[in-house]
């Protein structure tokens, strides 16, 4: 088990994966800004206000470790690519249905221009009342996999180059006092033949880091991922289970001394879960992993849900977690330590 970071959290700490629906007025403001009707300063103020509200909303729902809802990010790869030298954009491509994203293309040598999410963290830290906040960063493999590569001779070379850049960002966040960073790698298992070197590359982002590092992988092959639990230099794996009806929970037994961020809220369904189903999911998870190694979160980012549903889902998540906590509290187990 990782070293203690000197902070206590309630048993089964609740968190989010990262994104949260933007308030309607913020979406309007962004539209106005894109049309040149408001300036950068006004947009920045709107982003800050939105973060304050969204953090407050998470905290009121009872979430122990909030994020800033990724209010400033349109999309998880595009946001980083736009801030790293060497990328260019040709236009949107479909992800599913009528949903598109600006898929970047690597057109020249990549370079770390300046901190990417450092100011996001600093602002989040200044507005949250919680002792720990979560900062999310898209991982090098997913950035590469969701980009076109026109420059590097191989995808492997590109991923390692990106890993150096992401590592610099994480070190900057650590330096600024961040305690919990989650690296998002939803693409990790999509090319099984690339897993060996992909894991090595992802581990490069952890070089010199001694705060808490989580790895989020969703809608993926967890049997395959579980073979690399030990090798991946992360103390927590935030995985999606509600959407798959809690199939594959048995992989938790392979986590060893690592933690699970248990996905208990289906972010692709507008149906609001029952608190008892959340409690049952946690209980099921305890059959495979010790309770002090379980964090509770939605399956993935909540941004595609209507805001009122996202909030209700978080409330239900916390209510369900509280049901699960009761038994442990009566046994005198009410706290765990934040570990790196």
């Amino acid at each position: 088990m990782g070293r203690s970071l000197g902070i206590e959290l309630p048993i089964f700490p609740t968190s989010v994966i990262g994104s949260y629906p933007r308030p309607r007025w913020l979406r309007n403001m962004i539209r106005q800004w894109s049309l040149g009707r408001v300036d950068d300063k006004a947009l920045e103020e709107a982003f800050n206000d939105a973060v304050k509200i969204i953090v407050c909303e998470q905290e009121e729902a009872g979430v122990d470790i909030p994020s800033d809802g990724e209010m400033r990010r349109d999309e998880m790869v595009e946001y980083f690519a736009a801030r790293i030298d060497g990328f260019k954009f040709y236009g949107p491509v479909r992800v599913w249905g009528n949903n598109f994203f600006n898929k970047p293309a690597v057109a020249s040598k990549l370079g770390y221009r300046e901190p990417i999410v450092l100011r996001e963290y600093q602002f989040l830290r200044s507005v949250s009342r919680r002792s720990v906040v979560k900062v999310t960063i898209t991982g090098p493999y997913t950035i590469a996999d969701w980009s076109f590569n026109e420059y590097y001779s191989s995808k492997e070379e590109l991923v390692f180059e990106l890993a150096k850049i992401i590592n610099r960002e994480i070190l900057a966040l650590q330096e600024a006092g961040a305690l919990f960073i989650q690296v998002d790698e939803p693409a990790l298992t999509t090319h099984p033949e690339e897993m060996e070197w992909a894991v090595e590359a992802i581990n490069e982002v952890t070089r010199g880091v001694n705060i808490k590092l989580g790895l989020h992988v969703c809608y993926s092959d967890y049997e395959l991922l579980s073979k690399y639990f030990e090798k991946l230099a992360f103390s927590q794996f935030a995985l999606e289970f509600a959407n798959r009806g809690y199939r594959d929970l048995h992989v938790l037994s392979k986590l060893g001394d690592k933690e699970i961020g248990l996905g208990v809220i289906d972010v692709h369904s507008r149906v609001i879960e029952d608190p008892t189903s959340v409690a049952r999911a946690i209980e099921k998870a305890t059959k495979y992993i010790e309770p002090d190694k379980i964090y509770v979160n939605p399956d993935c980012g909540l941004k595609l849900l209507p805001r009122d549903i996202a909030r209700k889902k978080l409330e239900v998540m916390v209510l369900g977690t509280n049901i699960a906590r009761k038994e442990y509290i009566t046994r005198g187990i009410s706290k765990i330590e934040l570990r790196g």
Binding site: Y90, G91, P92, V93, R94, V95, W96, G97, N98, F100, K103, A105, D145, W146, F148, N149, E150, A187, T190, H191, Y219, N243, H268
Partner: protein
């Protein structure tokens, strides 16, 4: 050998159309107005195909969310639930879950195509240049969640062909569409019961001798699969197989020459999953080498998968590149052969 230009599958949904669809979904646009917008973009797509000189093409499939939807919404016994990744892409589709024995009462894909055919006809495009696109049986089966108590994979494929594909082909013939594109990436990605699938395709092509069936394979290359279907194509003249040479390094050019000597085929030489442009000169040289192996027959040149994996601007560029390749190949080929073509 005659060299033809072929487009297939889903063209990138233009931003203006995507916005209109969002407005329709949120109740801000009427169905009637949305239909007008669809018509405008489909016309634009056809105009583009005409200008570039494509010999056969889809209608852009601008109404489709993926190669399964909306067609599967009309299949009884199928529930649509949850998102599933489309092979190894950052692209998801609503997965069909087979809950009961399937039935199909309306040929949804052909009905949608019929609207495009009306537009095409007004533009002077004959319906035999346009293709209907639907998932092939093995791709449908491997991308569905099958309950083994209801269907084995073979039983499901058989039922899907007899109930869904038959109806679609019948309807498409009524509207004058002969080209049926059957998307079959699973054939080269997964292990397939090849003999069984070959029989299904043989029966299909024999039942509908006036249709032309295109087995569109992509995301991989499997020699035994391509050999099987090219051989079938040589026996039943109304079957074509596409060969994706873009995902193999180095491309198996010598084996393609063997395939071409067996029968007609469509060669996918442009990769619709990368913005990097292919080497024009090299492709012209390779295609010429292949085309010169036979005096008669048809060789189609195309892109591997649907162009929708690319931003629209790059998709257009790739279509122009294919046109340039075809033009150059034809010029060089026909200048040497007696049956030279305009």
């Amino acid at each position: 050998m005659e060299v033809y230009l072929m487009q297939h599958g889903i063209y990138p949904r233009p931003r203006g159309l995507a916005k209109a669809i969002s407005r329709y979904i949120s109740g801000k646009l009427s169905r009637e107005d949305l239909e007008k917008i669809y018509a405008r973009y489909i016309e634009k797509f056809f105009k583009y195909m005409l200008n570039l000189g494509y010999d056969r093409f889809s209608d852009g499939m601008l109404r489709w969310d993926d190669i399964f939807n909306p067609m599967i919404s009309g299949i009884e016994g199928v529930e649509i639930n949850g998102l599933r990744r489309f092979y190894d892409n950052n692209y998801f589709f609503k997965q069909p879950i087979i809950k009961n024995k399937i039935n199909y009462r309306e040929a949804i894909a052909s009905m949608l195509l019929e609207k495009s055919i009306e537009i095409a006809k007004k533009m002077g495009i004959t319906s035999d240049r346009v293709a209907l696109s639907i998932p092939g049986p093995f791709t449908m089966a491997t991308n569905s969640l099958l309950d083994q108590n209801i269907y084995s994979i073979e039983e499901f494929m058989r039922d899907y062909v007899e109930k869904v594909i038959f109806l679609e082909v019948e309807k498409s013939l009524k509207i004058g569409v002969k080209n049926i594109d059957l998307h079959e990436p699973s054939l080269v990605v997964y292990e397939a019961p090849l003999n069984y699938i070959e029989n299904i395709y043989r029966e299909l092509s024999e039942k509908f001798p006036n249709s032309r069936f295109w087995i569109i394979t992509y995301f991989g290359y499997k020699w035994e699969v391509l050999q099987t279907f090219t051989r079938l194509a040589s026996k039943n003249g109304n079957i074509f197989c596409t060969v994706d040479v873009t995902e193999v390094s180095p491309p198996p050019w010598n084996r393609i020459i063997d395939l071409v000597s067996m029968g007609d085929l469509a060669l996918a030489v442009v990769n619709a999953r990368t913005t990097k442009m292919e080497n024009y000169k090299d492709l012209v040289y390779r295609i010429l080498e292949i085309a010169r192996r036979r005096d008669s027959g048809e060789l189609y040149i195309t892109h591997n998968t649907s162009l929708e994996f690319l931003p629209e601007v790059v998709a257009m560029k790739k279509l122009r590149l294919l046109r340039r390749i075809a033009k150059s190949v034809r010029e060089k080929l026909y200048s040497r052969t007696p049956h030279s073509k305009e």
